[in-house]
C-alpha cells in the first residue's frame, strides 16, 4: 500500500521547498516530576505549532468580545499563572460579578472535566462558555466568524492550522483548546528538586513531609490534584435559586450524586502562591485563611470529604514549614515563558 502510494503522491504533489507542508504536529516533552506517562489529546484536535499560535492569538484578542475590551487573558493573566487575583471577577462585558473564581490555567490536558464542577467535558467545548456568557465576553459567535473572515491575518492562520478556508466556531474552540492544552507548568523549584537540580532547605523538606501527610490524599503529587471533586467543608447547606441553575450545589449539579453536594474540583497546589484568593468563590484572601479553615473551620454535613472530619491541625512551626514548601511550587519559568505570552 505504502509502496504504491509514495511514488503516486510524489508525482502528484511535486512539492517545492517553499510550499507549505501542513501543520506541524507535536507532543510536548514532559518532566518526570509531573508523574504523567502520556499527554492526553483529543483525536479530532491534535496539537500543532500553527494551531497553538492561532489559539494564543485568539486568547489575547479582545475584539472577540461584545465591547471589544475583554479577552480570555482579562481573567487568565500569565503572570498569575493565568488567574486574575480577584475573588469573583466583575471584569466581563456587563460588569456584573461572576459566581465562581477564575481558575488558573495549566496542566489542563489531564483534567477529565473543566470548570470548578467539571461541567465542561473538554477544552474544545468549554471555550464557548466564557466566549458567549453575557457577563464574560458576551460574544456573538456569528459576528466573530464574520470578523475573522475579514482579517487576512486570521484567514491565513486558520489555513495554516487547519488547512481550510472555512472558519467555524468549532475551529475557534479547537485552536483555543490547543493553546490552553499547551500551558504546562513543570519547572518549579519542587520539580528541580525532584530532578536533583535544586536543593530544599530543612524547612522546605519538613513542609514537603507535612504536605505528604496532610494534603496529598486529594492534592496528589505530580499534578498536585487528584482531578476529583470533594466537599471540603466550606458550607453547611447550599442555596439553589433557579436562575443560578444549581451553581452553589457544586459537582452535584453535574452528577446528581448526593455525595457531590458542595463538592468542587481539587485545585492544583502548583503555583498556589500566585493564585489567591482561594476556593471556588475566592472567599479566602490568603493561605493563612485557608489553613485556618482546615484547622477549625470545617462544616460537617453528609457530603463532607471523610478525610476532613477532624480538620488539619498544624502548630505555628509546621504551618511555616508547609507554607515554605508550597512556595516551592511556584513556577517562574512558566509565568515568564514568552511562548505563552502575547
Amino acid at each position: 500500500m505504502f509502496i504504491a502510494l509514495v511514488p503516486l503522491s510524489s508525482c502528484l504533489d511535486n512539492p517545492s521547498p517553499n510550499e507549505r507542508q501542513g501543520p506541524e504536529f507535536f507532543t510536548p516533552v514532559l518532566a518526570s516530576s509531573l508523574q504523567q506517562e502520556t499527554f492526553p489529546q483529543l483525536e479530532r484536535n491534535p496539537m500543532s505549532k500553527e494551531g497553538i499560535l492561532l489559539g494564543k492569538t485568539l486568547f489575547y484578542e479582545p475584539t472577540l468580545s461584545q465591547n471589544g475590551e475583554v479577552s480570555c487573558a482579562t481573567c487568565h493573566a500569565p503572570d498569575l499563572a493565568f488567574s486574575d487575583g480577584l475573588a469573583l471577577s466583575d471584569q466581563g462585558v456587563s460588569g456584573k460579578k461572576l459566581h465562581r473564581n477564575s481558575p488558573p490555567l495549566f496542566n489542563l490536558a489531564w483534567h477529565k472535566g473543566l470548570f470548578w464542577d467539571g461541567g465542561a467535558a473538554n477544552l474544545e467545548s468549554l471555550v464557548f462558555g466564557p466566549l458567549t456568557h453575557p457577563d464574560e465576553m458576551a460574544a456573538d459567535l456569528k459576528e466573530i466568524i464574520h470578523y475573522l473572515n475579514g482579517s487576512a491575518q486570521y484567514t491565513e492562520m486558520f489555513e495554516a492550522a487547519f488547512e481550510t478556508d472555512s472558519i467555524t466556531s468549532s475551529l475557534i474552540g479547537r485552536a483555543l483548546a490547543q493553546f490552553v492544552r499547551s500551558l504546562i507548568s513543570q519547572d518549579s523549584k519542587y520539580d528541580q528538586w525532584k530532578r536533583k537540580e535544586a536543593i530544599f532547605d530543612s524547612s522546605e523538606i519538613r513542609g514537603y513531609q507535612l504536605y505528604q501527610k496532610h494534603c496529598s490524599s486529594c492534592h496528589t503529587e505530580g499534578l498536585f490534584t487528584d482531578l476529583e471533586y470533594h466537599n471540603n467543608g466550606l458550607d453547611i447547606s447550599y442555596p439553589n435559586p433557579t436562575e443560578l441553575e444549581g451553581i452553589y450545589l457544586g459537582r452535584y449539579r453535574i452528577s446528581f450524586d448526593e455525595k457531590d453536594k458542595g463538592a468542587f474540583k481539587t485545585p492544583s497546589l502548583r503555583n498556589i502562591a500566585l493564585t489567591a484568593p482561594y476556593m471556588h468563590d475566592g472567599r479566602f484572601v490568603d493561605l493563612e485563611e485557608v489553613l485556618n479553615h482546615y484547622e477549625h473551620g470545617i462544616k460537617v454535613n453528609e457530603s463532607l470529604a471523610p478525610e476532613l472530619k477532624m480538620g488539619i491541625q498544624l502548630n505555628a512551626d509546621e504551618r511555616a514549614d508547609l507554607l515554605a514548601f508550597l512556595e516551592t511550587l511556584t513556577d517562574y519559568k512558566f509565568i515568564n515563558n514568552k511562548a505563552y505570552q502575547k
Binding site: 461541567g119 467545548s125 464557548f128 458567549t132 467555524t168 468549532s170 436562575e243 452528577s255
Partner: protein, 248 residues
Amino acid sequence: MKKLAILLLSIIGFTACQNDDKDRIPAETEVNFSFTHLFNGEEIELKNQTYTLPAGESFIPRKFKYYISNITFENSQNDAAYKIEDGYFLIDQAGKKEFSVTLPTAEYDKLTFFIGIDKARNLSTDQVGDLDPNNDMVWNWNTGYKFLVLEGVWEYQSSDRSGLIVHIGNNNPENEQNFKAISINLEAKGKNLGSNASINLDLEAELSELFINPNSIKIHELENTSIMGGDVAIQIANNYKEGLFSLK
C-alpha cells in the same frame, strides 16, 4: 429440491417484477420534512400574539426551537430499517422549518425520529452545521445541547408578567434522559415510502401538548417560571414524546 425450485421461481418472479418497474421505481427517495407549529390549532406567531395555556395562563411566545435527529424509516412487515446517519436538524419557528433527506428506495411504513441529541454527539460542542454552537442551543456551563427551547412572556390572573423559559436538555450526561423517540405511522396517512421519487412529510406540533399529556403542567403552581432541568423538564420531555407531533 422443491424448496429450491420455489426459491428460484420467486427470485425470477421478483427480478422480473423489478425489471418491469425499473423505469418507474427510482433508486433513491427524497423525503421532504416540513414542520408547522400550532397553539390551540392556530399557527404560532412570535410577535405579540397571546395564546392561552391549558391551565388558563396567557403566553406570548418569543422563541421555539428544537433538534430532530436519528431519523429512521422502518418496514413493520419485514423489520427492514434505514437510519439517516449524521442527521441533526435544528427546527426554528423564527428560521428554518424544513429539511430533506435522501435514502435508497425501499418499502417503509413507519418513521421514527428523536427530539434532541444522542449521547455520542452530546458530549462535545465543537461541531458544525446545525450543531454549530452559534445556534444558541448549547449550555454555557455544562457541555451539551438544549434539545428544545420555548421562551416567551407569561401572565396569570393579572399578576406581574414574567418570562417563561423552558430549556430542556439532558439532565444527566450519563444517560439519555429527555432524548425521546417519536414514532409516526406513515401508512395511516397514505405516506408509505417505496414508489415515489420524493415524498412530503408535513408534521404539525401542537404546543399546548407540552403542558397536558401525560403530565399536566400548571406553570402558576411551580416555584419558578424557569424550567431548565429537574423533574418538570423530565415531565415536559415525556409530553413531547407523547402528543406533540402528528403527521398531516
